[in-house]
């Protein structure tokens, strides 16, 4: 039998968590390096997964299936396809880099890393699960470490932010649970693949209601306007590495949920709701960008820019075309890389200056040329400069939605305005932080160090690689996306 790679990816970090818990809490170095070791081995596992993925087929691969509670039809059922493989890799990569980026944590180190490893378990599990029970368990498992990571190691308003995050997500989860139960009582199975295979038996009204239930859960996660207000608070209060995971992976679970569950299971509802979904995407893009423009706190700016960028995902998805959905998946991956890096970079400056107020800086380009260069690179990536992944994904989203028969052209045309607004707020940020007269208050600031460069370097490489040669990502998506679109429109 093949090596159970998905189980390994999901539970190896759990072993790591146990290992960390067995260590003495004074032994900070050992705790750190143990965590690094476990996330690194998981990353190797993810590379192994990528290397062994057969991209010629849209079928589920690496399937593991065991009966768990036969009485109620619950199975331990895992598998991966073109939608989840890139996400699994991204999860492994960002978890590893975040762990390395967490060396600055000084308080309650042991608990911090233990929770972090548990978080990775939840994330991996969500992307692997093909059984609704399993999926739901992992979805909730993720919530707990996140709550503590924000609530204990966060900023001044951490408790408010943590509770807000928790309640928001829980609120969504309840609707998801209702949706799952509705499906279960109609079909008697929790097997996602079976539910997808028999999607023609659900009547239209049923589809519309159950889609709506799942929508609430996923919309909060993405987050789609107007379900987004937990995000700025959570991001601003969360410690750097947690923000990276939050923006890089957690948000993608929303869009992943749409593509794994809502789209294939409710083809009628998807087409029925395509226009509202696209409009919500459009509002997220423009609204997020405008609100970013008004921000004074750097981290909040990046947080709101995520709302805007995830709007592109929704627009591309709602197109229900191969180009659009590929664009959505590209944007998920690309946003994970770029925003992950931006949060890491915000952390770098915050650790030194203890402020994130954009206007407090000025002329740092003289003092910190390397940091400035890297920061500008990722700003350019985020504002969609060709040659980097953000452009490829945004362009695919635009072309895909413009050629869609389901959504109106004016939605797409208005969405393209986002590229101007995004440029405006990033350029303003670059100018007030790095250009102009050097603010002598920051005379003592030190340049970005080797460890910090190490955390953003791989992200820069992938951002450029996908921007220049998008095929590296596209070969994974191609068969799966084409199959999905065929299923929805054929």
């Amino acid at each position: 039998m093949d090596f159970p790679i998905l189980t390994f990816l999901t539970f190896f970090p759990l072993v790591g968590m146990i290992a960390v818990m067995l260590l003495k809490k004074e032994n900070v170095g050992a705790i750190r390096w143990t965590s690094v070791f476990f996330t690194f081995v998981t990353l190797i596992g993810a590379i192994f997964l990528v290397a062994n993925y057969d991209y010629s087929t849209s079928k589920m691969q690496f399937i593991e299936r065991y009966t768990w509670f036969p009485e109620v039809g619950i199975n331990y059922f895992m598998g991966a396809d073109g939608i989840s493989v890139p996400m699994l890799f991204l999860t492994a990569l960002l978890s590893f880099l975040s762990i390395v980026g967490s060396f600055g944590i000084k308080e309650r180190v042991k608990e911090y890393f233990a929770w972090f490893l548990l978080l990775e378990v939840g994330m991996m599990g969500v992307f692997c699960s093909l059984d609704f029970f399993l999926f739901y368990v992992f979805w909730e498992v993720m919530l707990v470490p996140m709550y503590f990571l924000i609530g204990v190691w966060g900023g001044p308003r951490r408790e408010y932010a943590a509770i807000k995050f928790f309640l928001y997500t829980l609120f969504g989860s309840i609707f998801m649970l209702v949706g799952i139960l509705a499906l279960y009582f109609t079909t008697g199975t929790l097997n996602m693949m079976e539910l997808i295979a028999q999607n023609n038996i659900y009547n239209h009204v049923f589809q519309l209601w159950v889609f709506a239930a799942f929508f609430i859960a996923f919309a909060i996660k993405v987050p789609i306007w107007p379900f987004h207000t937990w995000l700025p608070d959570a991001h601003v209060e969360a410690p750097t590495a947690v923000s990276v995971i939050l923006a890089g992976i957690l948000l993608k679970m929303g869009t992943y949920g749409f593509l794994r569950i809502s789209f294939p299971m409710f083809p009628y509802a998807v087409k029925y709701y395509a226009v509202p979904l696209a409009i919500l995407g459009l509002i997220s893009i423009i609204y997020g960008a405008l609100v970013s423009m008004a921000q004074k706190d750097l981290k909040k700016l990046v947080a709101y820019s995520s709302v805007s960028h995830m709007g592109y995902c929704m627009l591309g998805m709602a197109a229900i075309t191969t180009v659009g959905i590929s664009g959505c998946l590209f944007q998920m991956f690309s946003h994970g890389l770029i925003t992950g890096a931006l949060f890491l970079l915000v952390g770098v400056i915050y650790d030194r200056a203890h402020t994130r107020e954009i206007a407090a800086f000025g002329g740092l380009g003289v003092k910190l040329p390397v940091y400035t260069g890297i920061f500008v690179l990722f700003c350019m990536a985020s504002l969609g400069l060709p040659g980097m992944s953000g452009f490829v994904s945004e362009f695919m989203v635009f072309v895909g939605s413009f050629n869609s028969i389901y959504i109106h052209k004016w939605i797409v045309i208005t969405a393209v305005l986002g590229v101007i607004l995004t440029a405006a707020y990033f350029l303003r940020t670059i100018q007030s932080m790095f250009l102009g007269q050097f603010n002598t208050r920051w005379e003592g600031l030190t340049e970005i160090n080797g460890r910090e460069i190490f955390t953003v370097f791989p992200l820069a490489v992938f951002t450029l690689l996908i921007g220049i040669y998008p095929k590296t990502l596209n070969i994974f998506l191609k068969a799966t996306v084409e199959n999905l679109v065929r299923m929805l429109t054929g």
């Binding site: 107007p226 423009m293 075309t321 060709p386 101007i420 100018q431 007269q437």
Partner: protein
């Protein structure tokens, strides 16, 4: 040959990577060799490819260079591949040639700058992007180059980023260009939606078959591309960034903001000429935008005191000529003027740079004057360029400008009013250029004592490039010598196979009496002389006169001096409202409305539970009372049912 075409842009890319990554570890001499050498190699490769193109039959001059597939998803595909045809060949030679000359010049100009390495790596990146732009065989790759040159422009305008004005200017350039990009992107999307392709050659074949000439679709597509072109080439209404862009180092102004990048819009329109000829409305708009920009920018140029700003407005005005040419269907005339303009405008900027360098950074012409004898070599080169841009017969600028004026009048898309716009512009051009020349080099010296001390002629590394360009500014026009003057219009014939409909333009042109061309030519020569004579009167004979005039027409002067207050208008109409809107969205909508609702909901549940909590008093007698009431209600209910 394919390999050579593929390699043309690669050399400067490596130059950028090597200089950018090694940075200050590299000695300056090595930087010079890599930076200039890489561009020179591009020029050599371009020349080889050009000659092999000449060896082919004139209708099939085409070399492809395929690198790899780029974005492929569903029905969409675009690749990183090049097309080397006559139009690309002209652009490659102009871009790499002028770039090489300016790279060499920069060695002298930037010699003492702390950011030497950064400067040359950005400059090489620029050349790479620009070559990508002109070689791209599909509109998406063209857009990549388009954005690349925009990025370099941003980085180099803000090269001295510690100056707030420089960083402001860079930001402005980027954002205004993004507005253009909005149109460009939509144009690509609409084009792909209609024709199912982004490949320029395919588009040119498909468009006449699949699109209704004069139809709404092709008009929309061409107008969207025009928005992009107007942004990049600084035409009305998106020209505002270019004058500010003069904050960058002067060689950058010469290369990016005069000779190459800003003319990319003209190149794009010529590239997509097959589409434009199908949309007469768009053509008319291109011509009108060009004609008015030419005149409008020339008027602003009359009253500026900063030597580089005069040249910047002059650039806007000259690109207006090129748009005018494209708009009347004389695409090859537009490209011809693009070429000669690259020579004499680069020369003007580099000459101005030599003056600024000599005066330790002074750019205000009120503190110049009488430099003719102090900077004799610079002066001579500058004079040649001034004569060329003004349109003195037999110099390069004369041929290209005259061709445009003639076509504006005679072409099937032309109109006498367009010709008049062009003619007035020609008067103004001669006037402001000679004003500049007189204020800088003639009359009495107003140089400050401080600048006087360091006053020196530029080193040979800066002067030799000037003279190469001076040579081209004189003789560059003979490649396009018109039939009327006994030439063979070689340039036009060379470009003809790749530019749609220019044959048609020539035909309509020949309907006019042959003598008309000579009459119009004479008119434009008279116009130029008029401009020069007035400038001589104002600035040499009666130096007090401009001041008196400015006082007499104070309102008018202020309006022009302040550039018609367009920057302020934009600020109040667009920038400020947008910022206020963003504040409203955040502070009111996000924080008060949405979050307010969420928090109130939470409070509501909180207070509800507070109220219910009171019921849990812990006293048995209270529970007993509730229990008792419950029993009574239940019993009553049962009695009611079973009555």
């Amino acid at each position: 040959m394919e390999m050579i075409v593929k390699l043309i842009p690669v050399f400067p890319l490596f130059g950028f990577l090597i200089i950018g990554l090694t940075n200050k570890k590299m000695p300056k001499q090595v930087v010079n060799i890599i930076a200039c050498g890489s561009v020179f190699l591009s020029f050599v490769a371009g020349t080889i490819a050009f000659f092999s193109l000449l060896g082919m039959p004139s209708n099939s001059r085409f070399i492809t260079g395929f690198w790899f597939d780029w974005i492929i998803a569903g029905s969409f595909s675009s690749s990183v591949s090049f097309m080397f045809d006559p139009l690309a060949a002209v652009m490659v030679l102009v871009v790499s040639g002028v770039s090489f000359i300016i790279h060499v010049y920069s060695i002298g100009y930037m010699a003492h700058d702390g950011g030497y390495w950064r400067y040359f790596s950005f400059l090489n990146l620029f050349v790479f992007s620009m070559l990508l732009l002109v070689l791209a065989d599909n509109v998406l790759l063209l857009f990549v180059g388009w954005e690349g040159v925009g990025l370099c422009s941003y980085l180099l305008i803000g090269f001295w980023f510690h100056k707030k004005s420089a960083s402001d200017a860079g930001k402005k350039a980027f954002i205004v260009n993004r507005i253009g990009d909005f149109g460009f992107l939509l144009g690509i999307m609409l084009l792909f939606w209609t024709l199912g392709s982004t490949n320029i050659k395919e588009i040119s074949h498909l468009a006449p078959e699949m699109l209704v000439a004069g139809g709404g679709l092709v008009t929309a597509i061409t107008l969207l591309f025009l928005v992009g072109a107007v942004g990049k080439s600084a035409q009305i209404p998106l020209y505002v960034w270019l004058p500010d862009a003069m904050e960058g180092p002067t060689p950058v102004s010469a290369l990016i903001h005069a000779a190459t990048m800003v003319t990319a819009g003209v190149y794009m329109i010529a590239r997509l000429s097959a589409l434009y000829v199908l949309a007469p409305t768009s053509m008319a708009i291109v011509a009108i935008v060009g004609g008015f920009t030419a005149l409008y920018a020339a008027t602003i140029g009359l009253a500026q005191n900063d030597i580089k700003r005069v040249l910047a407005y002059s650039t806007i005005s000259q690109i207006g000529y090129m748009f005018l040419a494209c708009g009347v269907g004389a695409f090859s005339a537009g490209i011809f003027h693009l070429t000669t303009h690259a020579f004499f405008k680069a020369l003007l900027f580099m000459g101005a740079g030599s003056v600024i360098h000599a005066l330790s950074g002074e750019q205000d012409m009120r503190y110049m004057g009488g430099l003719k004898n102090r900077l004799p070599f610079t002066y001579k080169a500058f004079l040649i360029a001034t004569l060329s841009i003004s349109g003195i017969p037999l110099l390069a600028g004369f041929f290209s400008k005259d061709e445009i004026l003639w076509k504006a009048y005679s072409s099937g898309h032309g109109h006498p009013l367009l010709w008049i716009l062009g003619l007035i512009t020609a008067i103004l051009t001669a006037f402001y250029m000679f004003r500049l020349l007189y204020l800088t080099f003639h009359g009495k010296s107003n140089v400050t004592a401080e600048a006087e001390k360091h006053l020196h002629e530029s080193p040979p590394v800066m002067l030799i490039p000037l003279y190469i360009l001076a040579f081209l500014s004189i003789f560059g026009g003979y490649i396009g010598l018109p039939h009327a003057l006994g030439g063979g219009a070689w340039f036009e014939n060379f470009l003809m196979p790749v530019i749609a409909e220019s044959a048609h333009v020539i035909e309509t042109g020949s309907h006019h009496a042959p003598s008309l061309e000579y009459i119009l030519m004479l008119a434009s020569v008279v116009a130029v002389l008029l401009g020069i004579v007035v400038a001589y009167n104002f600035y040499i004979k009666n130096p007090e006169k401009p001041k008196q005039l400015a006082q007499r027409f104070a309102g008018c002067y202020r309006l022009i001096f302040n550039k018609y207050y367009i920057d302020e208008v934009y600020d109040y109409l667009i920038v400020k409202p947008l910022y206020i809107l963003s504040l409203i969205f955040w502070k009111i909508f996000d924080v008060r409305v949405i979050d307010g609702f969420v928090n109130r909901l939470a409070k509501f549940f909180g207070s509800m539970s507070e109220r219910f909590r009171i019921l849990q008093t812990g006293f048995v007698r209270n529970y007993a009372l509730v229990f008792f009431i419950g029993v009574i209600i239940l019993v009553g209910y049962l009695c009611y049912i079973f009555r």
